[in-house]
Symmetry: C2
Subunit: 283 residues, 2 copies
């Protein structure tokens, strides 16, 4: 439990920032996800974040409460997002001097009514192995994504559910990894290069699989910036070259009926959600 | 909006399963995460899941409500998890015949009071690019993880925040990818092999960085099963070999004071949360 007191809790200057705790009897991922989503509604706030996962005993819960109470006595009242399930632990955490946001308890009663069943009360395993077949499919997809990153392999392309194509540095690799790891999508990715544009056709190994292809494009100025970081002052990074490649890629997508999206201002999560929706790939 | 009616909604047999909707004006990730966490409390339930992201206009919201209402009229009442922020869209979605679980609205009022500030009311960007520096660090970490997967490169190991070590097939690669993609951790991973065990010492390139190392181990029977899938009936996959490698690895971790965890029944999310906590790596 050491190291969970924020370093600047006793700091001077503008005074200490309120501390936000994400507490969980499991990984803390759900508490962080919803908690941070809610906090994006308050963009101006200076906040200090602390995740404390795996709170599985009443002793651990009491230690955490002691930390929260100490902060509450010394400075601004902490905010506590909790997904703890177990009654004992939940009651202890709810009794701290922090402002308690019970992400679990707020909805579970209503769901019991709708589903005509009692909640199991087992500690959260939402991010455990859970369904072993589904979990294994995610691990297999990560392996597949690494083997098929950046056109490295054309082996077993027929197994791919998705082939992501784009000029270099439009975001193919992280998007592929995200889709594999979070959604178990078997995804390859392939760069579009000079000779593809000269021939005005898809890379030859992809042609049988045009229906699995999804394209990325970007804005020339954005792509040029990103390429500059990798190879400063190269032709590769020049605005002219970037414009040419993106225009050529967009032409290729259009000619082949390949859906695509402009990734210039999108996160991998947004690109992935768009691809899942457009390609109807949600498992 | 096509394809969002579940295929078995009109199915025979046990009757249609209730449909669970995850609705969002953004990616839908938060709605899926908390919704699925709550639903793990009802393990016996047969449910059909549908994510509908990017509901950004009242027309789209009305289309979704029409789908929900059609299902509600024909079969069990759908359950609707929503993280929609905008007042108009939220009101329309809340008016469907489904059971509405307002993940956003349930907590935002209390947070406004605690933070003494009004919510911005902007549609969710929790999974957008957001903080550009933080986002870029995640993308950089994915590149680093791929370059440093499975001991492929010893370049720039001094930049690593974490070096994950283990015998083959204990879960190094997906854990590294998860830490890079979700947390922006610069992580390399290195296999421990026969000659490391014979010498009873860390692979030479890692020795200056022993404080960054974290080990994985597993159960011999579990590791043997996983290796069998890759190379059936090999020495590599034999129970004796797996036992030897795991015992040797655990010895090496102990001798070098390297923290480690048994990954046999853990998910990548659980392994990652454990590593972040033990190595105090949370950004």
């Amino acid at each position: 439990m050491s190291g969970i007191l924020p370093q600047d809790a006793a700091g001077a200057g503008r005074g200490p920032a309120p501390v936000v705790f994400f507490l969980s009897d499991s990984t803390g991922i759900t508490a962080e996800t919803l908690g941070n989503t809610l906090l994006t509604q308050f963009p101006g706030q200076r906040l200090e974040r602390r995740t404390i996962p795996f709170i599985t005993t009443v002793e651990q819960a009491r230690e955490v409460v002691a930390v929260i109470d100490r902060l509450a006595a010394a400075g601004p009242r902490p905010i506590v997002f909790s997904t703890a399930v177990g009654g004992d632990i939940r009651a202890i955490l709810a009794g701290s001097q922090g402002h308690f946001v019970d992400l679990f308890g707020a909805h579970i009663g209503a769901l019991e009514q709708v589903l005509h069943a009692p909640a199991s009360g087992e500690p959260g395993r939402a991010h455990g192995v859970g369904d072993a077949i589904r979990y294994q499919s995610r691990m297999t997809a990560v392996e597949y994504a690494i083997e098929h990153d950046d056109g490295q392999s054309i082996r077993a392309l027929e197994r791919a559910e998705l082939i992501l194509i784009a000029p270099s540095r439009c975001g193919k690799t992280p998007t592929t990894m995200y889709l594999a790891l979070q959604h178990g999508i078997l995804a390859a990715n392939f760069p579009l290069i000079e000779e593809d544009f000269a021939r005005r056709s898809l890379p030859e190994p992809l042609r049988p699989f045009v229906r699995k292809c999804f394209g990325l494009t970007s804005l020339p100025i954005r792509l040029s910036q990103i390429r500059q970081e990798r190879r400063p002052d190269s032709t590769y990074a020049s605005l002219a070259q970037c414009s040419f490649e993106l225009r050529s890629a967009e032409d290729m997508y259009a000619v082949n009926g390949i859906p695509y999206v402009n990734s210039a201002s999108m996160s991998v999560e947004e690109i992935s959600a768009t691809i899942l929706q457009r390609m109807q790939l949600h498992h």
